[in-house]
């Protein structure tokens, strides 16, 4: 069954209590951030903390990512070496603009895996696409190598580079946000929508998250525990949807037994894609439970 990545909870790597408390909210994924959330003078202590935490804390089913500093910075390469050695198996690479950016990390990871006796290809990559160039290269980035399991859209840096600002109805993000899920889907990987910064505006967050689901994102970035719950509600199939799906599957199974090709459920024609969708919905409902 495909892994759920509905929520990507960001936690600064600098806070000991977050390693313990973030699990309370049961996100699908957690990103411990060594990059933007950490000041220059604390980059070393954040990295040490993340490494020790990964060795000691049981994260259960939660997928744990480390957002490393850019490989061009003075910290990035050491980040990758140390955190993978400590046990991190998923890296979020910031500012991916091209296939080459991904391949650079890919190569480094082969080296680190070999030095640490980790089977080659184990460590996965989530590519953060945060610039116009990155958006335009989204398909190449998503298909760069088989380590890539998701591409995420970062609206803050995107709008900054575009020399515009984030607005409430997100006109400036239109193409980018619609393109990313397409590119991801074409390659068969996940897509993650951007962060909503206003923690007090839950209504605005919900609207953006609903839209993200509607345009095909697999999940949404969260910066506050209460956002996680909201996203899970939005991504959960509703009771009606589940009931309908059950009827469709039942009808399909009966039709198969009788050798009937065309099926009608509630007066509507049901064919292969609809049956597949019903199966997906039931699978998702079971996964969530």
């Amino acid at each position: 069954m495909k892994r759920l990545r509905r929520t990507m909870l960001f936690c600064p790597a600098t806070e000991p209590k977050l390693y313990i408390n973030s699990l309370i909210y049961r996100p699908d994924c957690i990103i411990f951030d060594l990059e933007d959330a950490v000041t220059y003078s604390e980059k070393d202590s954040a990295r040490d903390l993340l490494c020790e935490a990964v060795k000691a804390v049981d994260f259960g089913d939660v997928e744990v990512f480390a957002r490393v500093n850019s490989l061009d910075s003075e910290f990035g390469i050491t980040d990758v070496r140390e955190v993978v050695k400590a046990g991190i198996r998923n890296i979020r690479l910031p500012m991916c603009e091209s296939k080459e950016d991904v391949l650079k990390l890919d190569e480094l990871l082969y080296e680190v895996e070999e030095n640490n006796g980790i089977p080659a290809g184990t460590v996965k990559i989530q590519c953060a696409i945060e610039t116009p160039k990155g958006v335009l290269n989204a398909y190449d980035i998503a298909s760069a190598c088989c380590r890539v399991i998701a591409i995420s859209f970062g609206a803050e840096d995107f709008t900054r580079v575009l020399c515009t600002e984030r607005t409430r109805d997100a006109k400036e993000l239109y193409l980018a946000r619609h393109y990313i899920p397409l590119a991801a889907s074409a390659v068969g990987i996940d897509s993650i929508d951007t962060v909503w910064k206003d923690i007090d505006d839950m209504e605005g967050f919900r609207n953006e998250a609903r839209e993200a689901k509607e345009i095909g994102f697999s999940g949404k970035s969260c910066i506050h525990p209460l956002q996680v719950k909201e996203v899970h509600k939005i991504y959960a199939p509703g009771e009606k949807e589940i009931e309908e799906s059950k009827s469709i599957i039942t009808a399909a199974e009966e039709a198969e037994k009788k050798g009937i090709g065309v099926i009608l459920v509630n007066g509507k024609m049901v064919d292969a894609p609809i049956i597949a969708k019903a199966n997906r919905i039931l699978e998702r409902a079971m996964q969530i439970r």
Binding site: Y19, D44, S45, D48
Partner: protein, 85 residues
């Protein structure tokens, strides 16, 4: 050579390491949960120093309910900042 890491705050600790030439590893602990976890906290600090190959240091910890992994991390950072690597 002195290095400091961490901070005085809930579920965190402030670690100050003074690397020296002799005297072994000595830990001084002030903790709000000392009666319950004092020994484990001290052990974590010593383990951290040993993992970095440090044999002699005075480690001062001010703790407010910090977990062992964070004590270890802060101790390692403090040692590295003190130049011990």
């Amino acid at each position: 050579m002195i290095g400091t890491a961490g901070k005085e705050s809930k579920q965190d600790c402030l670690v100050k390491v003074d690397l020296r030439k002799e005297g072994g590893l000595e830990v001084s602990l002030t903790s709000s949960v000392g009666k319950l976890f004092g020994n484990q906290i001290r052990k974590a600090a010593v383990e951290a120093a040993e993992e970095l190959g440090i044999k002699h240091a005075f480690i001062e910890i001010i703790d407010d309910g910090c977990f062992d992994f964070a004590v270890k991390a802060r101790t390692k950072t403090a040692i590295k900042r003190a130049g011990g690597n």
